[in-house]
């Protein structure tokens, strides 16, 4: 299947020498609802900025629905719409004009642009506000205005950078519903967030980015399973040729006498020791494996706790 977004070896060094992206790879399938999760400063906006031509990349390649942004930028741009993290419309323009003008930039004649603007402003609950100046809208309305603007050329890929930051719970739910609906109708969606809960309730696939590196890229399910596991490192009294039999527990030999075992949280260690003892393998020492994902997860959860 064609990928909605393919990123390879993407690097970004800002003018001040700061290395915001250290070579990331990312695949987003067509039709996906994809989350890019990471703490503040991880490089989420930088990544999306490069994809949407707002930031110059230092190295690497980006393709949108097979259109490389270096060689086929116009077609890549036609495929995607972006809802940026910060409000970036003209505060003095009227709501409807903002959406219609954006359509014009895509070459959509004004009669069609007006129909589209009406359609999206209605479905986002902004039609009553069409003659208001953008600055008169509430925060949640401003965010929805940017969604309408991003959709006016009917892109196949909608990219949202922290769409629900600063939006109250109720509005957040209705925005989630809207996004789920257009995803079901076929629009691929990528959103960034630093709320795990948001990613969890919306997205099928997820990448986790931290300090300019992708540290996890999987389905939401397997991420949750992974977060639910603890990894222990066991030092053994003898060299093993092959993995001892541990029922259905996930285990690996790091070297001949070091075994790593993944245990679901709350599973208990007794069964591991029982089975090893039965195979005449003694454990000399044991420690908990420090896991960057785990640490990050804790950090994200703490963040969330602090914000709610």
């Amino acid at each position: 299947m064609e990928l909605a977004l393919q990123i390879r070896g993407l690097e970004k060094t800002y003018g001040n020498g700061f290395k915001a992206l250290k070579g990331i790879d990312l695949d987003v399938k067509q039709g996906d609802f994809f989350a890019l999760l990471g703490p503040n400063g991880a490089g989420k906006s930088t990544t999306l900025g490069i994809v949407t031509s707002l930031v110059n990349k230092t190295n690497g390649s980006v393709s949108v629905f097979g259109h490389n942004i270096d060689t086929d930028l116009t077609n890549a741009k036609l495929c995607m719409g972006i809802v940026p993290q910060e409000f970036n419309f003209n505060f003095f323009e009227k709501v409807e004009d903002i959406v219609v003008t954006q359509a014009g930039y895509y070459g959509i004649p004004s009669s069609i642009a007006k129909e589209r603007a009406e359609h999206y402003l209605k479905s986002l609950g902004l039609w009553d506000k069409r003659d208001n100046r953008a600055r008169q809208l509430s925060g949640g309305m401003k965010r929805r205005l940017m969604i309408a603007r991003a959709l006016v050329h009917n892109p196949k890929l909608l990219i949202l950078d922290e769409p629900t930051a600063g939006v109250d719970i109720e509005l957040r739910r209705s925005m989630w519903e809207f996004l789920t609906k257009i995803n079901e109708e076929g629009t691929t969606i990528i959103l960034t967030t630093h709320y795990l809960e948001e990613a969890e309730s919306l997205c099928r696939n997820i990448a986790i980015i931290d300090q300019g590196e992708i540290i996890q890229n999987s389905s939401m399910k397997s991420l949750l399973a992974k977060l639910n596991n603890e990894t222990f490192i066991l030092d053994l009294d003898q060299d093993l040729k092959s993995l001892p039999d541990l029922d259905d527990l996930e285990a690996r030999l790091v070297d001949e006498h070091t075994l790593e075992v993944d245990l679901p949280k709350g599973h208990g260690l007794n069964s591991v020791f029982t089975q090893l003892t039965a195979q005449k393998i003694a454990v000399l020492s044991m420690r908990n494996k420090a896991n960057r994902l785990e640490e990050l997860f804790v950090e994200l959860v703490e963040n969330k706790g602090a914000k709610l």
């Binding site: 970036n88 930039y105 895509y106």
Partner: protein
């Protein structure tokens, strides 16, 4: 994008630009009307009647073309510099950057927006001048084309200024320290034949002199300078400033990190 789509994108920018300066008409259209009316009354009527003739015309007739040109220069420059800087500052330039609009269309849209304001103000000032003097066009084609081309030159200048500007102060520096002096010394109020020979030579390095004098030639039929040379010089300015503006846009100077 094909020609049709480019045309839609271009006219969208122009319409947005015209909507901007007409929305804030109290800041954009009224001040030059008031200033120029004062010039007409004070310099043209009161002081002008004591000055007598300039290049064979009464003083009011002499300064009207210069003052129209001065309004066109100031307003086309001012429109693009403040609009494009505002677009950068509020970050709604991103609306254009994410869309498939080629840079030359962005540039052309903003420039024509500036030309529209310059010509709108020029038209208002011309109407006002009719209360003070009669205008006949000696060379209508020269008059209109020099007006248009001058507005293009200064719209481009405003665009470059906006790209380099980091603060609202930066957009006031060039108009205050360069544009206004050059305009006042560009033969708006006097014929350079009044100057000592040395200062005549210095004045000839001032591009605005050629624009003002060519415009005056279009209306009155007399000029201190060679009109064909003036057109050539203006075309050169447009090519150089336009090319440089495009280069800045292509590299993302000031708008893409």
């Amino acid at each position: 994008m094909n020609g049709n789509l480019l045309w839609v994108a271009f006219s969208t920018i122009v319409v947005k630009e015209v909507r901007r300066f007409t929305r804030i008409w109290v800041q954009t259209l009224i001040p030059p009307a008031i200033t120029m009316t004062l010039y007409f009354i004070i310099f043209g009527n009161l002081v002008g009647s004591r000055i007598g003739e300039m290049d064979g015309f009464d003083y009011m007739q002499f300064i009207v073309p210069g003052l129209i040109m001065m309004s066109v220069i100031t307003n086309s420059y001012g429109n693009v510099v403040s609009s494009f800087f505002g677009t950068k500052f509020q970050r709604n330039i991103e609306e254009l950057l994410v869309a498939p609009v080629p840079n030359w269309v962005i540039l052309a849209g903003y420039v024509i927006g500036g030309v529209a304001r310059g010509l709108a103000v020029g038209f208002i000032v011309t109407l006002l001048s009719l209360f003070f003097t009669d205008l006949t066009l000696a060379h209508p084609f020269v008059t209109l084309s020099i007006l248009f081309l001058t507005a293009v030159v200064f719209s481009l200048g405003g665009f470059i200024n906006a790209i380099y500007a980091n603060s609202f102060d930066d957009i006031a520096v060039v108009p205050t320290f360069i544009l206004t002096p050059l305009t006042y010394l560009g033969g708006v109020f006097y014929s350079i034949s009044l100057l000592p020979e040395f200062w005549q030579g210095v004045s000839q390095l001032n591009p605005i002199l050629y624009m003002v004098n060519t415009f005056r030639y279009g209306i009155l039929g007399v000029s201190d300078i060679n009109v064909a040379f003036a057109f050539g010089m203006i075309m050169l300015f447009i090519a150089v400033l336009g090319g440089f503006s495009l280069h800045l846009l292509n590299t993302g100077k000031g708008i893409r990190s």
